[in-house]
Symmetry: C2
Subunit: 520 residues, 2 copies
């Protein structure tokens, strides 16, 4: 069945997943459903302790068994030790058939690939995967379909009952004996625990894992004891050096700086750039450069941001410190500057991933965005974006908040260099659709800027603005003129993954990669 972004979703996948195909970014507005709910065991005897000796005891007490779904968060990013630590113990216990529902997985988790191969892990649901896990999925080693969800889509999937988490393992930089967790104050601070909040609320069993046990109460808690069954103290939950890889350095790439300047010029010429505007950027060099250049103009004109959202990096925190932002609300910290900021600045506030981006709650922060500045591996002439599958067909990225913020923001700007190496970033058809073009308003490249024809209002705004505007087709043609139109990636028949729309529909499928065969 052809969905609303023109992708043909095979009937057997629709049947196997019991999902509908994507019908448009706002098709589920006002959709009514009954929320999911966990099984809970009451702790009303004050004499009971939640402390367990080790991960093994936690697993035994949680009743871990074959075919369960277990969950993890990715606030420790490439410094995470929790996934491997828990999976190693599960593997030793001989448990099989597990599905991992993680907010994201990265190269730090390469060690679990043998557990995919031996059937310990048969399902992966994640914002995305990188490294060897991506290769394992793309080469057909995972038994079940991998499901790639946006950050908002993951919360929706859990809260709507599409996925039920049996046991959630939550790494906590600090925790008390009763399970009150905080993201800071320990030896492996991660700034916020936003992605893990839904796991705590909806998993049947919740295990807090910490390397810094603090006196009761660890309050105010990011995640409350009322959701926590067991508390396990380990030596190290992460490698602080890799959790946040230092302050984001301003880019020196002139191409990125040029695109950032285009972006800033575009932003300030829209009607949304006014006192109290709201704004989010990704962590790409050009996005960060845009924040810096926008900050200068805000300062010159005395315009303040009312709300900075995200995925937070140091340049946003610098604007907060300067008084140019009223409030930052934060679901993820990408560098040490952001982590330090949330520790000390009361206007830098932790929120849940549901508050951030869940399309099925009663209104998320993304709905209130004026601007979001995003990157993309590929953008096609329908403004569809691909942020998960490389142009070589290998799964190597993550949806993150891309489709969520694009759907929410009044002005969604995607910055992409026209060529990524020898690969055109602007193309006729993206390898895989992750963010529907109907939610992408502007594409900024180093060779020109295309406004989505759906946004005649923005086209009108820009009619006297001196920026290199052109059509998206012109950008594609220019790219193809330079490096040629690439042959389509050759996939096998087997479908290995589903790109889920934030509303739970099928946006696209990912096929098994196959070795390139020369055409006759």
């Amino acid at each position: 069945m052809i969905n609303a972004v023109g992708r043909d979703i095979p009937q057997n996948i629709i049947e196997a997943t019991k999902k509908e195909v994507f019908k448009g970014a706002y098709a589920f507005d006002n959709y009514e459903y009954t929320k999911a709910a966990p099984k809970v065991r009451a702790v009303c005897d004050p004499k009971r302790s939640k402390l367990v000796e080790n991960i093994h005891e936690a697993l035994v007490k949680c009743g871990v068994k074959d075919n369960m779904t277990i969950s993890f968060h990715h606030h420790f990013r490439e410094g995470d030790y929790i996934v491997n630590m828990v999976m190693e113990e599960i593997h030793k216990m001989g448990i099989k058939g597990l599905t991992i529902c993680a907010s994201s997985l990265g190269k730090a988790h390469d060690p679990i690939v043998p557990m995919i191969e031996d059937g310990t892990i048969v399902g992966i649901q994640s914002s995305g995967v990188r490294g060897k896990i991506g290769e394992a999925i793309s080469t057909g080693k995972l038994r079940d379909l991998a499901i790639m969800r946006s950050h908002g889509g993951r919360v929706r999937a859990v809260e709507s009952g599409e996925v039920h988490i049996d046991i959630a393992f939550i790494g906590a930089p600090t925790c008390d004996e009763y399970g009150n967790m905080k993201a800071n104050g320990g030896k492996s601070d991660c700034g916020v625990l936003s992605y893990a909040m839904v796991d705590a609320e909806y998993a049947d069993k919740v295990v807090a894992i910490t390397d810094c046990l603090v006196p009761f109460p660890n309050a105010p808690a990011s995640i409350s004891m009322v959701h926590v069954d067991y508390v396990c103290v380990v030596d190290e939950i992460g490698n602080p050096a890799k959790i946040a890889t230092g302050a984001a350095k301003p880019t020196t790439d002139v191409r990125k700086i040029m695109m950032a300047d285009y972006c800033t010029q575009f932003v300030i010429n829209t009607p949304y750039f006014k006192e109290g505007f709201s704004y989010q950027t990704g962590v790409g060099g050009a996005s960060i450069a845009s924040t810096i250049s926008l900050g200068k103009i805000m300062e010159e004109r005395g315009i303040h941001m009312g709300l900075g959202l995200g995925g937070i990096t140091t340049p946003m925190c610098n604007l907060l410190e300067k008084g140019l932002i009223r409030t930052i609300v934060d679901t993820q910290d990408f560098d040490m500057g952001a982590i330090e900021s949330i520790k000390k600045n009361p206007n830098h506030i932790e929120i849940s991933a549901s508050e951030y981006a869940n399309p099925f709650n009663k209104g998320a922060y993304v709905n209130k965005l004026d601007f979001v500045i995003l990157a993309s591996l590929e953008v096609d002439v329908n403004f569809n974006c691909n942020v998960v599958v490389g142009s070589d067909g290998m799964i190597t990225g993550a949806q993150g908040g891309h489709p969520d913020t694009a759907a929410g923001a009044k002005c969604t700007i995607v910055i992409a260099p026209l060529l990524q190496g020898r690969i055109p970033a602007i193309c006729s058809n993206v390898t895989t659709v992750t963010t529907p073009g109907e939610t992408v308003d502007v594409v900024i490249t180093d060779y020109g800027i295309a406004i989505n024809p759906r946004r005649q209002d923005l086209i009108d705004c820009m009619k006297d603005v001196k920026l290199p505007f052109c059509t998206i087709e012109e950008l594609r043609d220019r790219a193809y003129a330079m490096v040629g139109e690439p042959d389509p990636v050759q996939f096998g028949d087997r479908i290995v993954g589903v790109i889920e729309g934030r509303d739970g529909t099928i946006m696209d499928v990912v096929r098994e990669i196959k070795a390139y065969e020369f055409q006759d």
Copy 2:
């Protein structure tokens, strides 16, 4: 059927309520159940507004209809305008058969009594009732059984699905257009919104009512927009002068001061009085005097409270300011000093009523109490307490956190003058059991102190302590010797209310009051 506190619960009440009878304070420890869940309508179209013109429009949009259950919180206490404002509009619309599930109701709500009489309101579930609502229930005017729950019991009832709230009306001192609510920063500050948090999470429809609309985002929010359907701005949500009736004044009643001194002497001679201890008091004069006298000893001995819980008054906040308390966690503010404290002191922290006292979550704060100092209308020789029904049989009080804290604390101390006027506070049988004697460790009166024989450990601790210890029977006998044993209250046959144990069992029933008849 006779329950664990010796009350005979009629079979027809067991059947009508589908409840079990009380089996002991910890009978439901480790009880497993699936949480309830609300119906939710997704707001993913960023163009939709949540603002409504008035209460009437909110009611229409929420689809109010006969026989619904609606809810309110009582943080505005005797200054609350919300209940009457909403009920007046509902009454105008001709809706009938409503059940009100409130965290508590007071004299401020006397105006709803005619709506009980005309069938607009047929059910009341509350921590307690005072004034004319209590009289209306006690004289048989309410169609359904009134259900009296502790603060923890109410959260349990909602989270377990025993009561399902169709529409929650939440008065918010400040709110933004998307429903982020805070307890402070407006013209009717109430300190915390703890009791309303479960309503926001579990009601199908949630209406935020504010008299101070603030710019988005009102963050960090006490109650998040993700739970809120509509936002309604009204002129006044409460009368600030009655929300908090000024700083609690230290009592000058020598009898209360003496009991407070007994209490402090008792506390400091237990093994629990040590660095980092946890503590809660009620708001009675003797309880507050105990806090003050205990504070002096803490200061002399250099002992710090790790956790102050409650129901907060100025004397607790003063100890926090002096550095004698590490953290106060707060579910209700009883005076202006407490409200000012939570605004300015980062170690004074708002928690949910579930975190405070819910016996069916994975561990509440009450479980971590070393001491709780409580008052009681009556205590009987089995240490059972009555805090809801007056000795004249009229409903006139509230469970509050009484049974919750008593069950949680290592040392539960009840302070009661031996005589309340001409009525013995220590008696053979309380009029109605609200808190089971198995959870009450010590009763302090102006004529002597009785330790529950179950607590041989505390009796041993006190063997060299110079306090007027005696048995509870001796206290009862002394009271009866002074004023005579009162005739039992004469009730009618009809049962008008149920005192629910915090675990949802039937602790006791309340019968219709009848005019006193002289015996032959």
